[in-house]
């Protein structure tokens, strides 16, 4: 009665090493049958009786299929890797993770995330680890829109760039539509009747810098208001920059300003208050990003244009899985929607 075979003892064992064979034995069928009912395999006809016994056995033993073993035999894993520079650590780009995860789950995949801090060695290590775990593909993403030179190892699997793009467009990419965003912001102000609209742009060279300016300019010209370079100033893209830029911008007696982002708008609010200018009565302002901690709680709440982080992540997964058709040669653009609050 000494247990020489530690295999078939009670489920009193430390932790469920309950495998398919155990279920099969308990149900009095073969593992193949168990496999078929577990997977609802349509090409296999299993009798109601057996099916029921198997179900009960699974239930009673607390059986959990081993996804890894399954992957090994089917050859296709259910992992999608997400390597990010600073997404998890940055306020609000976390939505990329959420979008990617939701979309991945929808198709039976789970996310393997690695936040590398932009460190190249960490990136390589992360990608290597993902490759070794036989991921279905990798999403390589950045927390702000920019050009990148993707790690070479990405070529070993399917990969898509999210929130960034490679200059040689060797990889599929999905990025926010900065130009449309610039247009949207400007439209918001134009619609409210403003004609002298300043633009506090970022001083950081980037797709956002050129794209939003282009949208702003385009819409102003299209509306017959005309583009006045004097109304465009550059500043660092934070509260300090916005505060400081306000000096330069407000001397042009503008009635509205489009800010590069919400933080800049927050700085502008401060400056306006110092001058006893009321938002939106004396000065209308629209931000960008929709960084909710700020935008939703400024006084008055800020009307802004949202960066579609969630959609970026989701679109990345769809591209990766081939659900969305890749746009040839160029990055797929995702729209930046307006978020109307009370500052216009």
């Amino acid at each position: 009665m000494t247990p020489t075979t530690p295999r078939d003892d009670e489920p009193s064992s430390p932790r469920s090493p309950v495998v398919m064979r155990d279920v099969a034995k308990a149900a009095g069928v073969s593992v193949a049958t168990v496999s078929h009912v577990v997977n609802d395999n349509p090409r296999a006809r299993i009798g109601q009786a057996a099916r029921e016994r198997v179900r009960r056995a699974i239930e009673e033993l607390g059986y959990r299929p081993n996804a890894l073993a399954k992957t090994l035999v089917t050859g296709s894993s259910s992992f999608i890797g997400l390597v990010a520079d600073a997404i998890a650590t940055t306020p609000f780009a976390g939505q990329i993770i959420q979008g990617a995860q939701d979309e991945a789950w929808k198709h039976g995949y789970v996310l393997l995330v690695a936040n590398t801090g932009g460190n190249e060695a960490a990136e390589e290590q992360a990608i290597a680890m993902m490759l070794e775990h036989k991921v279905r593909g990798i999403l390589y993403s950045t927390w702000f829109h920019r050009a990148v030179t993707p790690p070479a190892a990405l070529a070993e699997t399917d990969a898509v760039l999210v929130g960034c793009y490679s200059e040689d467009s060797s990889l599929q990419a999905v990025v926010p539509d900065e130009v449309q965003g610039g247009r949207t912001a400007t439209q918001l102000l134009l619609d409210a009747g403003h004609r002298r609209i300043a633009f506090i742009n970022t001083s950081h060279p980037s797709p956002a810098q050129t794209g939003r300016l282009e949208g702003y300019r385009e819409l102003l010209e299209r509306a017959g208001v005309g583009y006045d370079p004097a109304l465009v100033v550059e500043a660092t893209s934070d509260q300090e920059g916005g505060y400081e830029a306000a000096m330069r911008v407000l001397e042009h007696d503008v009635t509205a300003v489009f800010c590069h982002n919400d933080r800049v708008a927050m700085g502008l609010y401060d400056a306006a208050r110092d001058r006893s200018l009321r938002v939106p009565d004396d000065l209308a302002v629209v931000g960008f990003d929709d960084q909710e901690v700020i935008s939703a709680h400024l006084r008055p709440p800020l009307t802004t244009v949202a960066l579609p982080h969630y959609d970026l992540g989701a679109a990345g997964v769809r591209l990766l899985l081939g659900i969305d058709e890749p746009t040839a040669g160029t990055a797929r653009l995702v729209a930046c929607p307006p978020v109307v609050r009370s500052s216009v």
Copy 2:
């Protein structure tokens, strides 16, 4: 010459199905030998020549070990699951992910993340999926400190609660030390010579509410200043709450106020400015959380107490892997450090 065995063709195949056997063949050794050199197995003596040939073959073929197959045979996976309610979507708690990931990597584990939005069904699904992927253990975390009733399925593996705790303390937990945080904030103000220190507490019942108050009170009494209930007001924990609470608090001619968090402090700043009160000259303020987008960029930059998200994540992993000893019965506390800027 028709390829009946699709196995041994050139590496021209679409994507590296290079397996150990291929390496073995190329190096003229057995798979066992390859395995030994790949893992630097100390209990196996491999000749320099063979070792070298294997290394070269690996290099030339671009071989990547299959971590899943390895897991299958060794029985221990290298995954740690992180199920979060809203960490990835919340500004700044993302540091929990980062801390967990860094610590996990350090020990050869990779993170499987699932942000569930607090949805119970999603939680169960996430945990089930992690269990099926045979994770080493699961970190169950919340973006703000609170009591939870952990999903039952967590019992099927090792689990630790991060940023939350279960009332029946059935699971290990690691949470921020709210009391010490309250003391720290108060100390900052006391050190600057303040004696009439108000506290805008949150109106949301929580460990933060009671803990920080306790620390505040404790320190005030210890410092001989005494605790005056009139100086404590409650408010919603955002900018609006801070602005509104300012009314109630400033009529007690206090010289300093400890705010439940940075957002409340931001609201207080607004109110102070409306009254032409200068921070810190007329009013010293300290926040809590160190929500950097806000705290670092307020005018003046806010002195605050940081919520140790990163450490929480890292400590969670350490507890999970048994690197840190569990504190019996009660949750492990991690300190909230002061972050000195210019508002005191």
